[in-house]
């Protein structure tokens, strides 16, 4: 009787142990498979969220560009047109009055206003970009900055640059425009060099001899609200272009920013 009981207890122990071991193994296996699946799903969700954010950024930038286009067209066609008409009217009046010098100052002011309206309109949406492409538009921008800001702005081009999609060219143009504006406004530079190196990728270098800035500190405040809107827009555009932006920190003075865009 005792022998049978001992056997039964030993059997219970053996079965219990096997069942518990199987359960433990099942828990571990379940963990391995289920966690992997969950992690993959999380990764997928993050990717979708990133895609969505990218689409939202693209939509925001597109709407910004459309708005600029509309304002540029209004400025050029409507206000520009009206100012030109006034200019013609003034010239006619000047011919009819005895002393045309009386309205010469007004005429000069009107000419300056017409030039300003044209410049603002061109900055908002450069017609050269649509008509002749990125290289010509950047060249023209460099010339314009040189003539208005009294800073030497040089443009160089190496390699054979192939035309990109219109929206890509516009984004690159906006980035360069922002970088040049920063160099003029904040860097106190006397020379700005803009270079295009086209190989299997496009390398855009904007370099100035100004006071420079601490890019490490700038990137440290990456998430903070203190970051300017200009840099925020640059970052968004760089991300949309799948490009890479590099700040040269090893310089004694000035700034060198290299943007590499895969073609």
């Amino acid at each position: 009787m005792e022998g049978a009981s001992a056997y039964q207890v030993a059997l219970i122990v053996a079965i219990g142990t096997v069942v518990m071991l199987l359960l433990a193994a099942a828990i571990v296996l379940f963990m391995l498979f289920y966690q992997k699946k969950m992690a993959q799903e999380q990764l997928k969700r993050q990717r979708l969220e990133m895609d969505y954010q990218q689409k939202m950024t693209l939509a925001a930038l597109e709407s910004q560009e459309n708005e600029r286009k509309r304002v540029a067209a209004d400025l050029h066609d409507s206000i520009g047109g009206m100012l030109s008409t006034i200019r013609v009217g003034l010239t006619t009046v000047a011919k009819q009055i005895s002393d045309p010098q009386l309205i010469e100052q007004q005429k000069q002011m009107l000419d300056d206003t017409i030039s300003s309206v044209r410049r603002i309109s061109r900055d908002l949406m450069p017609p050269t970009l649509e008509k002749f492409g990125l290289v010509e538009a950047v060249k023209e921008m460099c010339e314009r900055v040189q003539s208005t800001a009294y800073i030497r702005v040089a443009f160089t081009e190496h390699g054979e640059f192939r035309a990109l999609e219109k929206n890509q060219e516009l984004m690159i143009f906006r980035i360069i425009q922002e970088l040049i504006n920063n160099a003029v406004k904040h860097a106190k530079s006397s020379t700005i060099n803009v270079a295009f190196n086209a190989t299997d990728k496009l390398e855009v270098i904007v370099e100035d001899d100004g006071v420079g800035f601490d890019s490490t500190a700038l990137l440290r405040h990456h998430a903070s609200a203190s970051r300017g809107l200009g840099l925020f827009n640059i970052e968004n555009r760089v991300r949309l272009l799948n490009a890479h932006l590099e700040f040269d920190n090893g310089r004694k003075s000035g700034t060198r920013i290299t943007m590499t865009i895969p073609l």
């Binding site: 122990v13 219990g16 518990m20 433990a24 193994a25 571990v28 963990m31 391995l32």
Partner: protein, 224 residues
């Protein structure tokens, strides 16, 4: 089952524990907190073996140091899992440890006293299985890494789970088998020791994984 084989398995078990302590000592400062606590746990686990080797225990009651060891061991393991779940469930860990502490002393003073003291060990196994499942649950919720097998704590937890699940029924019935049915404890305890060896081997895999990670991290600046 011969006594010689039992002794050999027991020795292998102790040597593996020593090896784990040495392994934990390698790159100690760079190891994660879980591995440090685990090293402490194994170092502490060697003490009863050393006490039995050095101090003549024949005719003396060694259930008392064994039980004190069990209680202290659970405190260290509770700390290990508390760190592993990133300091969550603090109240739960404290309550479980205190409850176990009280039960351990009640058992040795009033229930099993000087007999084979297995109830404390059984409760310890139940608690450890619970800890392991809790840790795995947190892994599912937090999703800290994509590849779980790269986490050393995943292996430590697996080792504890396998050992405690395997020995639960053994501990539950050992007292009855030996004291009531006068069965031979040797075969049951050999099985227990084999499971302990398996546990130690799995722990060593975890330590090895961490060592690989530490080495690859220290090589990183050279690669750059």
């Amino acid at each position: 089952m011969t006594l010689d084989l039992f002794a050999r398995i027991s020795h292998a078990q102790v040597y593996l524990a020593i090896l784990i302590v040495i392994f934990c000592g390698l790159y100690f400062s760079k190891r994660c907190i879980e591995s440090k606590v685990l090293g402490l746990h194994y170092l502490f686990g060697l003490l009863p073996s050393l006490i039995f080797l050095l101090v003549p225990m024949k005719g003396k009651e060694y259930n008392i140091p064994q039980n004190v060891y069990l209680v202290l061991q659970l405190i260290i393991i509770s700390l290990l899992f508390y760190k592993a779940v990133l300091g969550k469930y603090k109240g739960l860990f404290i309550s479980v440890t205190l409850g176990f502490l009280v039960f351990g002393f009640i058992n040795i003073l009033f229930i099993q006293k000087n007999d084979i003291n297995t109830y404390t060990k059984t409760l310890s196994s139940v608690i450890l299985i619970f800890y392991c499942v809790l840790y795995y649950y947190r892994l599912l919720v937090d999703l800290p890494v994509q590849h779980l097998h790269k986490l050393p704590m995943f292996w430590y937890s697996m080792a504890f789970l396998m050992y405690n699940a395997g020995t639960l029924f053994l501990m539950l019935f050992t007292s009855y088998l030996v004291e009531v049915l006068h069965n031979d404890l040797l075969i049951y305890w050999t099985f227990h020791n084999i499971l302990d060896i398996v546990q130690n081997l799995i722990v060593m895999v975890g330590l090895w994984k961490e060592l690989q990670h530490i080495r690859s991290r220290s090589l990183l600046p050279l690669v750059q």
